[in-house]
Amino acid sequence: MIFAGIDIGSNTAKAALIKDNTLVGTRVMPTGYHHLKAGTRVFEELMQQTGLSRSDIRTVVATGYGRASIDFADKAMTEILCHGAGACFLDPDIRGIIDVGGQDSKAIALDDQGHVDNFAMNDKCAAGTGRFLEVMANALEVALDQMGDVGLTADNPAKISSICTVFAESEVISMIARQEKRENIIAGIHDAAAARVAILAAKIRIRGPIMMTGGVAKNPGMIAALEKRLNQPLIISPYCQETGAIGAAVLASRM
């Protein structure tokens, strides 16, 4: 029996398939403007990739911001529940999750059985989200996926004091004007974003071991900054970006 999860995030659409509690495959592509189109495509491409057809799939669960648009899904569930289920699937010992996605970040606490017990999300502000890092990468003319490595080479991380993305951007621009080293500015940006995310974790008193999920978990600079703030190592799965989709597939298998 094969189950599918589809996660429509603000930047990327993800799909995952599981069979007998093992991962069959995952796929990621940009979301673009049309949620349903993106969901259909990522799902079809994944079936092609794994040599499966629609009739092999028993149940589909959709999650993410675009979850309601996926009309062929059997059920829509929130990212919170799916990230919880996905993280537990990837590592059953996980008790806390930090998810930093494109337009929001969240902290999720799991109970002893691995069920979602509590969560906190960023308020209507981009600080501490993937978008924040994107805006900053643009201002600094660094490729987003290079940002983490560059930041790790800092010798004297800058201090970004604004918590607002717009203000932080102008702070960064004035640092550029002062010819502050790029790597130091980037390290400062990571720390500022990590500080925002750490507040969410503190709000719900998250316990370890903590897994970091979401696209931003691919950024080593951000991971280092968060580990420092949270005072513990973060577990990063190679499927960090697809965790929500995997969780959706897991939940589909339980329906």
């Binding site: 929130t78 990212e79 069920h115 979602v116 999300m121 209507k124």
Partner: protein
Amino acid sequence: MPDNPVAPPKIKAAKKMRDLMTTYYLEALGAAQNNRQVAWITSGGPVEPLVAMDIIPVYPENHGAMIGSAKMGEDLCAKAEDMGYSPDLCAYARSDIACAVVKGGPIGGLPKPDMLICCNNICGTVLKWYEIQARYFQVPLFILDTPVCHTGYTPEIADYVKAQVNEYIAFLEQVTGKKMDPDKMNEVGRLSYEGQRLWQQVLNTTAHKPSPMSAFDAFFFLALIVTLRGTQIAVDFYKELIDELAQRIKDGIGVVPNETFRLLWDNLPVWHRLKWLSDRFSAHQACLVADTYTSAWCSALTHIDENNFLDSMAEAYTRIYLNIGVDQMAQEVLKMIRFYDVNGLVMHSNRSCKPYSFGQMDIMRIVREKTGIPVLMIEADMVDPRYFSESQMETRIDAFMEIVKHKAGRS
């Protein structure tokens, strides 16, 4: 989710209440022609002496709620910001200050006040707000200062507030040029007590499963105990409402079809999104059965001496929900969680109302430790829609309900 469950019959008293409110506002708007005086008063202010002296009390905060419900908050708040006020200022204050100047809002502005009565038992914002309005309208302002009762009501606080109650009466006598009639005052005090007692009874009906009305209904029916407290009108109306609710209970009518989950709401409503929120929760078969806000207008009942209203008034108005310590607030919340037997708590972190929103993190922690029920914190503003993000709110509510269902063993 059941497909389109049949909507329960509406509460009939709602129409009557709308009529009563219309009459009340018409009377207030026509006060000057009828040689009556109007006092603007804060929502938690001691209104009974005004009623006893035949002054029409008008509540800018109730007006603010109307502005919010009519979705006119954004323009008025923006107008106040144009006038130089900070967007961080309470949206009731912003919309009232703007409305006084542009005469906007759903009823074209409030009647001009002859005096202003400000009691800071709800917040410190009202002090500056009422000073601004006193300057704008050039009318006398009376301030009743009620110290926060962090741990209790001390003899010093008692003496201090009682002395001010005397000054308050003297102020009213001076502004109206009339003496207060103690018999009339006692009568109004008795009616106020009776009204509050009945309001408590109205709220108590929702302990029944299924709940005959929701907190969203309470937000609506609240207007009378706020604006017409101390009158026979409020007493009669709530009696009628209680009868109707009792009948609904008898007939097994629940306001949320297939009520399965019961929730408690904390803080002011999001006036501009009542229907949206109500629908969102109903879709999960969840009923917000009670809230900490509407019960604030009867929470001090235990401190009122029905036969000696004026003397006990000082204590009753000082010890209201917003004027006590966070630990005591948490105790009140815990009491409500037990009484209404709820599965979860929804806390509205209200951008406008700092005194209400401050301390919510602690209350959340205490509730989770003591009861283990899920708690949701949502960020919004009671009047200003610019702080509301629909898709973020949807995700939070849906995720919260997933947890509530799971804990109740129904996922």
